[in-house]
């Protein structure tokens, strides 16, 4: 499981970084999305990987914490997802506005002259 997860994070971030370095604004937004998925998975893995372990402990008395998943990274991921979703939506609006103003989807608002 560890190798699958780390491969997934690696592939997502590599594709994300490649895409945000591209000149088209749509590629940049997809790249940012992929990067945020990679980061979210990474936060999740920081709570250690557990299989079929609940995150919520029963009420009262001492419980063995090793039999439960760490709930904090899950809460952090939830916050991070909401924030990155909102900012990506905002970025999409700016992207469309830029396309409308400049008539091109190049990130600099103008095409580079062909040599």
């Amino acid at each position: 499981m560890e190798i699958v997860l780390s491969l997934a994070i690696g592939v997502l971030s590599a594709s994300g970084i490649w895409l945000i370095l591209r000149p088209r604004s749509f590629q940049v937004i997809v790249g940012l999305c992929l990067l945020s998925y990679a980061v979210n998975l990474f936060i999740f893995s920081m709570g250690r990987l557990t299989l079929s372990a609940p995150a919520i402990m029963p009420k009262g008395g001492f419980v063995d914490p090793t039999r439960y998943a760490d709930p904090l990274p899950q809460a952090l991921v939830l916050t991070a997802i909401v924030i990155s979703f909102a900012t990506t939506a905002l970025f999409l609006v700016v992207l469309i506005a830029s396309r409308g103003f400049t008539g091109t989807d190049h990130v600099d608002g103008r095409e580079r002259e062909q040599p």
């Binding site: 604004s25 940012l32 980061v39 920081m46 924030i83 900012t87 905002l90 700016v94 990130v107 608002g109």
Partner: protein
């Protein structure tokens, strides 16, 4: 009741901003008064908190205020911490916000929607970032202030702003992801996100985990460096700050300082002398990057042709100075130097903010705003007969406007260049004194820093004087009016600078105590971890018992 005052700088703008969202922009006048009242209240609270931080220290009692959210004991939940540095930054933010708000009333608030709400949310983010004692909470408040700043940067629309906004948002989203990576890495190694808890754990991290932890902290550091506008991560800054509307640019002058604040707070807390093998981590890098940034800002000031671009580079320059001082302090530069730097950090955003506010009245003859509006109109296919009556600035024009403006510009120039009557001079002088007083840092480094400090001040003087001559002397037919509503906040900021200069001794005493408090990390760390819960302090009232 009074212990709840600490959270007021976050709650007041939050409630005001949310309330204003309920009404559309036909209620602009009411919205302005509401935000003026909210910002004024925040200012009053900031003054009260500053007094509390100051008095607490002089009585030798607890000089750090804590606020446990939800009344959970410290490392379990989020804690707000009010110490000297936080109180100082809160006051600085609200003074600048008040000036910027009044200025926006002149014309800018009409150029788009929900200006005042976004402005209040920006204050929520700024005040929260200064107050929080928790890493993830710091990320959340950074996002709040960035989300509001995206909206404010795009305020007024137009091709230039949208293009600069696109770059600004892309850079900041990527930086936020880095911040998140760093925070989660720190949590993975230590299992805590509380800054004080982390500081007390720093000496005991075992050797196998230390590289991971340091990598997490370094990732966070890169994110903060992007936000602080440090070379080579600062190329987005001049375009974005220039494109922003004048009152927004003035607020942005303090946004780079949030990045500096986070770096200063975290490095002093986590890499202090007592933190074992991690002590002084990255000090050399911070000094090098800071000095490179000063050089970059200096060359930018000399090379720029427009006032907006010079102001943006002046912001970069002051960020670089602060970063270099942080690095020197981390390498054992001493408290007195840091005290001078903090004095400088109070004065320079105010001066830079005033400069941003002056950009528009000074360049109106060149058709600054009119050209922008004409461009927008062209894109929408409307006739280019703007500005009509509705788009001109409000309020009475002042007869002696240009003369007043020139006087303000001259004083602002002196403050930014660090020349005698203005407070920039005292900050720089104290820094230079401090560098030579301590033997811990190498003398070559001290000399290099002092030389850079003086040369950069000289470059600022040349760059700004050149623009001033072009605008005020070489231009015979200046007949554009200067509005009372525009010149008043500029004069208020200059007056605040003058007061700082006159009351230098008090300000320096305060910043000196701030620097001492920053060096006594154990006090901060233990204070947070032993902060008393309200529940323990007083017996539960009958209503609390279900």
């Amino acid at each position: 009741m009074s212990q709840h005052l600490i959270i007021a700088p976050i709650l007041i703008p939050f409630v005001a901003g949310a309330l204003m969202l309920l009404y559309d922009d036909r209620q602009r006048a009411a919205k302005f008064w509401l935000s003026l009242i909210a910002t004024g209240l925040t200012l009053a609270v900031a003054v009260a908190l500053l007094m509390r931080a100051k008095l607490g220290a002089s009585e030798g009692a607890e000089n750090i205020g804590f606020y446990l959210l939800g009344d959970w004991a410290a490392p379990m939940a989020i804690v707000l911490v009010l110490d000297h540095l936080a109180a100082m930054m809160l006051l600085l933010t609200s003074v600048l916000a008040l000036a910027s708000l009044v200025y926006a009333r002149a014309s800018w608030h009409r150029q788009g929607q929900h200006y005042f709400s976004l402005f209040q949310f920006l204050l929520v983010g700024l005040n929260g970032a200064f107050l929080t004692g928790d890493l993830f909470n710091l990320f959340v408040f950074f996002e709040v202030l960035l989300a509001a700043s995206y909206g404010l940067l795009l305020h007024g629309s137009g091709q230039v702003r949208v293009r600069a906004g696109l770059h600004y948002i892309a850079i900041n989203l990527a930086a936020s992801l880095l911040l998140l990576l760093g925070i989660s890495l720190i949590y993975g190694v230590t299992g805590t996100l509380n800054m004080a808890h982390l500081a007390s754990m720093m000496p005991d991290i075992d050797a196998a985990n230390r590289p991971l932890l340091q990598m997490g902290l370094a990732l966070m550091g890169v994110a903060f460096l992007v936000k602080a506008g440090i070379w080579p991560l600062s190329f987005w800054l001049p375009n974005a700050y220039m494109a922003a509307a004048a009152p927004v640019g003035a607020m942005f002058a303090i946004m780079t300082k949030v990045g500096i604040y986070a770096i200063l707070r975290l490095t002093m807390l986590l890499f202090a002398a007592g933190s074992g093998p991690s002590a002084g981590l990255g000090a050399g890098l911070l000094i090098g990057l800071g000095m490179a940034t000063v050089v970059f800002g200096m060359l930018g000031v000399l090379a720029s042709q427009s006032l907006g671009r010079i102001a943006a580079h002046a912001v970069i320059l002051s960020s670089g100075t602060m970063l270099a001082v942080t690095g020197l302090a981390l390498a054992g530069g001493g408290e007195w130097m840091l005290a001078g730097a903090l004095h400088y950090m109070v004065a320079s955003p105010l001066a830079a903010g005033a400069l941003f506010l002056m950009v528009e009245p000074m360049s109106r003859d060149d058709g600054g705003i009119a050209a922008m509006l004409a461009l927008t109109a062209e894109i929408y296919g409307a006739k280019a007969d703007l500005p009509s009556d509705d788009d001109g600035p409000d309020g009475p024009a002042i007869a002696a406007g240009p003369a007043l403006l020139a006087a303000c510009f001259a004083l602002c120039l002196l403050a930014l260049a660090g020349l005698p009557p203005m407070p920039g001079f005292i900050g720089k002088l104290t820094m230079i004194q401090g560098v030579f007083d301590t033997a811990d840092t190498s003398p070559w480094l001290g000399w290099a820093f002092v030389a850079l400090l003086l040369v950069s001040g000289f470059a600022t003087l040349i760059g700004l004087a050149r623009i001033g001559i072009q605008t005020f002397w070489a231009n015979d037919d200046r007949d554009s009016p200067v509005m009372a509503m525009e010149i008043a906040p500029i004069m208020a900021l200059i007056t605040v600078l003058a007061v700082i200069s006159i009351e230098s001794e008090a300000v320096l005493r305060y910043t000196d105590r701030t620097a001492q408090a920053l060096h006594q990390t154990s006090r901060y760390a233990q204070g947070v971890l032993t902060a008393p819960r309200a529940d323990d302090a007083q017996p539960p009232t009958p209503e609390d018992v279900p």
